[in-house]
Symmetry: C2
Subunit: 218 residues, 2 copies
């Protein structure tokens, strides 16, 4: 449970007046951030707009000043996570190939694993929400479809690296892709940004473990 708001708390009439002036108790960004925290704590389906209003200490109408529905908050958060992840994967895919003097597919895969860890950390609440989406509505189904496209790009990157002969061949590219990015995704279950491990260190260590394993090299 998050502790009660310590920010500006406005009663219904004040916030409605503020809404008309375009300055309600919270800006859209704050409403979105707190909504995503609540969705992650209690589950999206179990959280009502009334719960969010209570948590923020404002009226429901103050929330509807910013968004038309609870689903719009979900859609915004999922879009934030998906846009960041998609950009990272595309950046890797758009890099010049080794055959034309650029980086190898294996180097690009390594960079993508590290970058996906950093994005997960930078957008932790939004990515956490994304990873819990089950397809219960058109908004969730659209997010799952965008995830599938990203997963396919990642799987292609793994296949390209395997074709270079630098990845072990006793595991399928599909399984490697699922396990490596499954490891990255599992970070949402325990990583907290206020811990001792910096995002860059975490990215380097996850990448090292994925590529080299936990055994000492002979």
């Amino acid at each position: 449970m998050t502790s009660p708001s310590t920010g500006p708390s406005t009663g219904p009439s004040t916030s409605a007046a503020a809404g008309r002036r375009g300055r309600p108790g919270y800006d859209r960004e704050t409403v979105l951030r707190r909504a995503v925290e609540l969705f992650n704590e209690r589950g999206y389906d179990a959280t009502s707009t009334a719960d969010l209003a209570r948590e923020l200490g404002v009226s429901k109408s103050a929330i509807f000043h910013h968004v038309s529905s609870k689903e719009e908050l979900l859609a915004s958060a999922l879009d934030e996570a998906l846009t960041a992840l998609d950009a990272a994967v595309d950046a890797a895919g758009d890099a010049p190939a080794a055959t034309t003097g650029g980086t190898s597919a294996t180097e690009r895969l390594r960079a993508t694993v590290a970058e996906s860890v950093r994005i997960l950390v930078d957008h932790l609440p939004a990515v956490t929400l994304l990873l819990r989406v089950r397809g219960n509505s058109p908004v969730e189904q659209a997010a799952l479809e965008r995830r599938r496209v990203i997963d396919e790009k990642l799987a292609r990157l793994v296949r390209d690296a395997a074709d270079e002969g630098t990845l072990r061949t006793d595991l399928s590219s599909e399984l490697i892709s699922r396990l490596v990015f499954g490891t990255v995704n599992s970070l949402v279950e325990w990583y907290r940004p206020d811990g001792t491990l910096s995002p860059d260190d975490l990215a380097a260590q996850v990448t090292a473990l994925a590529f080299d394993g936990l055994s000492t090299r002979d």
Copy 2:
């Protein structure tokens, strides 16, 4: 969504009569299995006993013939997953140490990773439910506490293996434990028992990737 039941479907009066005879439309095991499927699909909090009764095509009283509450179904499923996982970790911990002619900690860690994959597959719905528990009730908090104890045993196994000098030392034992078992846990997101990969093959491949990494060895 699961498709409608093809099993025995009894109307309220029939099942109530059957309940009095001790033979309702479904046995406890089936009610539990279908409940866990529904919880995983829709979320535990979002699933009511009425939803479950509708899904099974029986009255709520037919369900309460078997269990006193929805929470009892949750507790049963979590206990199934936790008991299996705990037994696997204890079996590894109880094995004779290498110093007394038994297996090394690294061998025991390897065996535990493989066994945890097999348990996840054997108890997939119950483990999936366990991994989604957020501590929203005393039953959930008790399950999280049992998970913590298991996680501590796993972390100790990783430390013991590190002490043998067979694990890389640039990553902390705690991080290794979280990443390796995070990888195992991520299987619930995509593994389906009807696929082409057998539980034993999956266990072997996850273990190989965790210990040796995805790069070809030099």
